[in-house]
């Protein structure tokens, strides 16, 4: 039974409650729901988390932004080609501090999703992000990026306009910034498309978000030639927040309510905002050079390798 089936069961029970109205049976059902949630929804497999990260009702980036920064002003366009709606960016204040916020935006329904291109950006989206980051650097505004994308869009137009080039330019520019950069992965973090906004001083992740090099389906197809083995692949890929914290790829996990962020959105937004501001107040004390150094040092140490050091094998140093 995966997480979606469990969720359906909870929904059924809740429906029963609303039908019954009140009484002894309702109380019993409420206890049953709570027990079921605690028993079944606390220990999630990697595949459960993948399903939750892609959940239809999962809060999107704009919902987070609207909660955190009610005075958010969205800025459009990359000044080169067009405005890519799968990346939203703009300026807003959180608790009196002005931020540049850049985010991948998923749609709520199919129509919305077609407009947002399922949060799969074209190069112009990344160039818009780059423009806004340069702007933030100019005015010394800290940057918050919110990551929620299955990956960069693979299409003819995207290739013609240099998808790889656009992502590379973003990585290049983000490593050079001298303002605080905080990245939060709220849903799917897929491959280069996610990393292009993810080179940050602090990377945080919602508990049930995923961050991986490609989708579990793609991984299963390439390794075992069978996309239906995706649950197994998800387990093998180590894409959950807990695994990544162990690898020290991310710095912090933001806890979600039982059963996923969509069960209690307010709480998720509150926790996310608190986590972001906590990190921001720490980063604010550092100077531009220190921020640049801290970020580059962090990036430099990514890797899981060892060198046979010929010179330190004992004996005398010449």
């Amino acid at each position: 039974m995966d997480i979606l089936a469990k969720e359906r069961k909870v929904k059924d029970l809740e429906k029963k409650i609303s039908e019954l109205g009140s009484g002894e049976a309702v109380k019993r059902l409420r206890i049953e729901i709570r027990n079921f949630k605690i028993k079944e929804m606390t220990k999630l497999t990697a595949w459960d988390r993948v399903l939750l990260a892609r959940h239809q009702l999962r809060p999107t980036a704009l919902e987070f932004i609207n909660y955190m920064s009610p005075d958010f002003i969205e800025l459009h366009g990359d000044r080169l080609f067009r405005d890519d709606k799968s990346i939203v960016g703009g300026i807003g204040s959180i608790d009196g501090n002005v931020f540049t916020i850049i985010a991948h935006q998923k749609g709520k329904n199919l129509e919305d999703n077609l407009e947002r291109n399922f949060a799969m950006p074209h190069p112009e989206g990344y160039r818009k992000a780059l423009r806004l980051m340069k702007q933030a650097e100019k005015f010394r505004r800290p940057i918050i990026t919110i990551i929620d994308t299955p990956g960069a869009y693979p299409g003819i137009g995207a290739e013609e306009r240099g998808q790889g080039h656009a992502i590379a330019q973003n990585l290049f520019a983000m490593s050079e910034l001298t303002v605080p950069v905080i990245a939060v992965v709220i849903g799917e973090g897929g491959s280069g498309g996610a990393l292009a906004l993810g080179v940050a001083n602090k990377v945080m992740m919602l508990e049930n978000a995923i961050y991986s090099i490609l989708s579990p389906e793609g991984y299963a197809t390439i390794l075992w030639k069978d996309a239906s083995l995706a649950p197994k692949a998800a387990e093998a890929m180590k894409l959950t927040s807990y695994d990544l914290e162990e690898f020290s790829i991310i710095d912090k996990i933001i806890k979600e309510p039982l059963g996923g962020a969509h069960f209690d959105k307010e709480q998720t937004f509150f926790d996310t905002k608190k986590a972001i501001m906590d990190e921001y107040y720490k980063l604010r004390r550092l100077s531009g050079t220190e921020l640049h150094y801290q970020r580059n040092n962090k990036i430099r140490n990514f890797g899981f390798l060892q060198r046979f050091n010929y010179d330190n094998l004992g004996g005398i140093k010449r």
């Binding site: 240099g162 590379a168 290049f172 292009a196 390439i222 690898f247 390798l305 005398i316």
Partner: protein
């Protein structure tokens, strides 16, 4: 005195034990011996059989249609760098298999033995027509030249070496993208190598990348396209997403020359498409133009 020489000898022996893959002289031997197994091969472009021996003499270019065959990293170095000037650096890294995948280490060992390389990327100091530079070459015969922790580290090291010695750097890319066996670590190498390019760039040094067939995925989206001058070989496949993925996503036939180097030159993402025979001359000229005068 005796004890000192004893420890030195001991250390030398230890060193020799750790040099699993090759000793110093075998690198030169490998250059001479590197002839593909089959003597005849089919040209993928014009479908005619080519004698590989004469093909190698012709710098791996099909004499019928001018198709550029893939080149091993060692052959590439032999072809580009002046004789006896190449000094390999940064040798001896191993990945620790972060995802604990079964068979990954065995696979690597197999490729190491077959290609005489320790990873899909080698770099070192070299001279082109007497002009010193750092040369890095990716080998597409090693697990499709995919970028894992070790390749990322070595690329970063090559930039750091170039910064340390204040030298220009030339990188020949040939890669299928990030190595998925290492999962998220491969992805992070994109950030790492890009940051290394940024550091090199800040020092005011020259970086030339030569894109060869095939350059896709995570390598295109990081250090390959961040260079000051981007050159490419003719008819090379260069792009971010692979053609098959794109075809599956959009469900329509792709244009014929889609994602080739000529296509990208037309779209303005490559400085120049260069025939392999002119490559060394061009690189030498570019290095001469950027010679530092102080």
């Amino acid at each position: 005195m005796n004890s000192i020489s004893k420890t030195l000898n001991k250390r030398k022996n230890l060193k020799n034990n750790l040099k699993i893959i090759r000793n110093e002289s075998s690198f030169i031997k490998a250059q001479k011996m590197d002839v593909p197994k089959g003597l005849y091969e089919k040209c993928p472009k014009c479908n005619r059989t080519v004698n590989m021996k004469s093909n190698i003499e012709n710098d791996y270019i099909c004499k019928h249609c001018g198709n550029h065959f893939r080149m091993r990293a060692i052959d590439r170095i032999k072809y580009i760098v002046d004789e006896d000037t190449f000094v390999e650096k940064g040798f001896g890294y191993i990945t620790l298999n972060p995802l604990f995948q079964d068979g990954y280490e065995e696979k690597l060992a197999k490729y190491k033995k077959a290609t005489n390389l320790d990873e899909a990327y080698i770099y070192g100091f070299g001279q082109i027509h007497g002009k010193p530079c750092v040369i890095g070459v990716m080998d597409s015969y090693f697990l499709m030249g995919s970028m894992g922790s070790v390749v990322g580290e070595k690329v970063t090291r090559s930039f750091e070496y170039a910064i340390y010695k204040k030298l220009p750097i030339i990188i020949f890319t040939a890669s299928g993208g990030a190595r998925m066996q290492e999962g998220i670590f491969s992805l992070m190498q994109m950030a790492k190598t890009s940051a290394a390019v940024a550091k090199h760039n800040k020092m005011g040094l020259l970086y030339i990348s030569v894109l060869t067939h095939p350059t896709t995925g995570g390598v295109t989206a990081s250090f390959a396209t961040l260079s000051d001058i981007i050159l490419a070989e003719p008819h090379a496949l260069i792009g971010f997403a692979g053609p098959r993925v794109i075809q599956q996503t959009i469900n329509q036939k792709l244009p014929d020359d889609f994602q080739t180097s000529e296509f990208l030159q037309e779209k303005g993402f490559i400085d120049k498409v260069i025939h392999r025979k002119d490559l060394k001359q061009t690189l030498s000229k570019l290095l001469a133009f950027h010679r530092r005068r102080f």
